[in-house]
């Protein structure tokens, strides 16, 4: 660096003071809140795959508990074992204020839970609204099929 540059930089630092931004940037709005009536926080589980619906401007991530995640790792089919729990979390998208050309999660609009218990068909639950509450769903079977058809996103 040329000496003149160092002088200019030092001057700028002195003049501007050290105004370091200490704010914690957390996307609170896109997170699960204490008011949401969910059985657990799905965001703390393991991400299996994710998808985007550009027509609705939403994005979803499929999470699994340990049993579901282990299954998805080795088998790309919907025959999850007993005890497997999946959550499909869907967010409204918003423009990323730090990068024009990207969308990031805004509010959570729905959480879908699929639980495998015993020999019966997997149990489907839908949580929606603000705060999230359990609501009834008209297309349980269709949604279950769609969610279960999603395999693990591939990395080498």
């Amino acid at each position: 660096m040329k000496p003149i540059h160092s002088i200019i930089i030092v001057l700028i630092i002195i003049l501007s003071g050290c105004n370091r931004n200490n704010e914690n940037n957390i996307n609170e709005k896109a997170s699960v809140s204490a008011l949401d009536a969910l059985p657990e926080n799905p965001l703390l589980l393991s991400p299996i795959t994710f998808s985007i619906n550009p027509n609705k401007a939403t994005m979803s991530t499929l999470y699994g508990n340990k049993i579901a995640f282990q299954h998805a790792k080795i088998k790309a089919d919907s025959s999850y074992p007993n005890g497997a729990v999946l959550y499909e979390v869907t967010w409204k998208q918003k423009a990323d204020s730090l990068w024009y050309g990207a969308n990031i999660p805004d509010k959570i609009i729905s959480v879908e839970k699929i639980q495998f218990t015993g020999n019966t068909a997997p149990k489907y639950e839908l949580y929606a609204g603000h705060p999230l509450k359990k609501v009834s769903s008209n297309d349980e079977n269709k949604r279950t099929t769609i969610i279960l058809s999603k395999g693990m996103v591939e990395t080498p």
Binding site: N25, N27, E40, L43, L44, F50, G101
Partner: protein, 326 residues
């Protein structure tokens, strides 16, 4: 008074003498032709606001040529061209051209470009809001995924949906380290998702994974600066459009790591930067300084400890309050 005059005369002489001392001559005014397939008004804006430092077509003001200003000008132009030279535009492949324009535009939006010191003396290079809007509208048209994609009429082929990790690497110790000496971290798939992003500009989609230390930092609101040991793995896949118009994650593109260690990585803003591309996990970078490229892209978010991602709140305790009350 006479003494003052004398000092002035001496200073003037020194100033005149200084004018014989000039920076190494660089190529200033080779004409650059308009970019093909880019609207005229976009060409004009780029010419007006970027070309002085980012092309071989430079319009110097009279005061730019005076010593010592000319030294600063020459060094700025040299650095500017190194980062991006619009005169080499035609040598870039089309996807690279789009990526370059998006990158440049985000530098403008973040206020980093054009340099404030430059627009202060060359006010005509300042970008009006209307010019920013013109650039934005143009960029929307070159996004890999348009904002309102038509649902593809041809159904995606069925049956080959299940892509099992067939090319899975079995021995990660064989994955080459990057040239800045960072070894591959295969474990990131077991980490939590700190956020996701939909990059319609280049048709990719990303999960940003965070290791345990990063997740703990989020829970404890200690994210600026991030604590030593925090690691992010930003993993990108191609967007794959399904028959119903939704998008799923397609082929793996790359995984990029940011590893926080304020002391060890002091020279690179406190982070170790690494990227592995493709199914063979080829380390990115031609030399050990490739990470300067990472830093200059992340520079607009230096106040966020160089992290673009705004993490989801992963506070376990907060959630438990609800369950306890229930």
């Amino acid at each position: 008074m006479k003494k003052g005059l004398k000092i002035f005369a001496i200073l003037l002489l020194v100033f005149i003498a200084l004018q014989f001392w000039k920076p190494e001559e660089i190529e200033y005014s080779t004409p650059t032709k308009d970019f093909t397939n880019v609207p005229a008004e976009v060409n004009t804006i780029l010419r007006n606001s970027c070309f002085d430092c980012h092309s071989n077509t430079v319009n110097l003001a009279w005061f730019d040529k005076i010593t010592p200003a000319n030294f600063i000008v020459a060094s700025h132009i040299k650095d500017g061209r190194k980062a991006l030279n619009f005169s080499d535009w035609d040598k870039l492949e089309k996807p690279k051209q789009s990526a370059t324009l998006y990158y440049a535009f985000n530098k403008i939006l973040s206020g980093e470009m054009p340099l404030k010191s430059y627009t202060a003396l060359h006010p005509s290079a300042k970008l009006e809001d209307s010019s920013v809007e013109v650039l934005k509208n143009y960029l929307t048209t070159i996004a890999v995924r348009k904002t309102n994609p038509a649902i593809p009429s041809i159904a995606a082929p069925k049956g080959i949906e299940k892509i099992l990790p067939n090319k899975k690497i079995t021995d990660y110790t064989k994955v080459k380290a990057t040239l800045n000496n960072i070894s591959y971290i295969p474990d990131f798939r077991n980490w939590k998702a700190v956020s996701t992003s939909d990059r319609f500009d280049n048709g990719s989609m990303r999960i940003i994974y965070g290791n345990e230390i990063a997740v703990k930092a989020i829970a404890e609101h200690q994210t600026n600066p991030w604590p030593d040991g925090a690691i992010f793995a930003k993993t990108a896949w191609k967007q794959k459009i399904e028959a119903d118009g939704t998008i799923s994650a397609g082929a793996f593109i790359q995984v990029e790591f940011m590893i926080k260690d304020a002391k060890k990585y002091e020279a690179t803003k406190g982070w170790g930067w690494a990227r592995w591309k493709g199914n063979d996990l080829k380390p990115y970078g031609d030399n050990a300084n490739f990470d300067q490229e990472c830093i200059s892209c992340h520079n607009p978010v230096k106040n966020n400890d160089y992290v673009f991602t705004t993490p989801l709140h992963l506070d376990i305790n907060k959630f438990n309050i609800y369950n306890k009350n229930k």
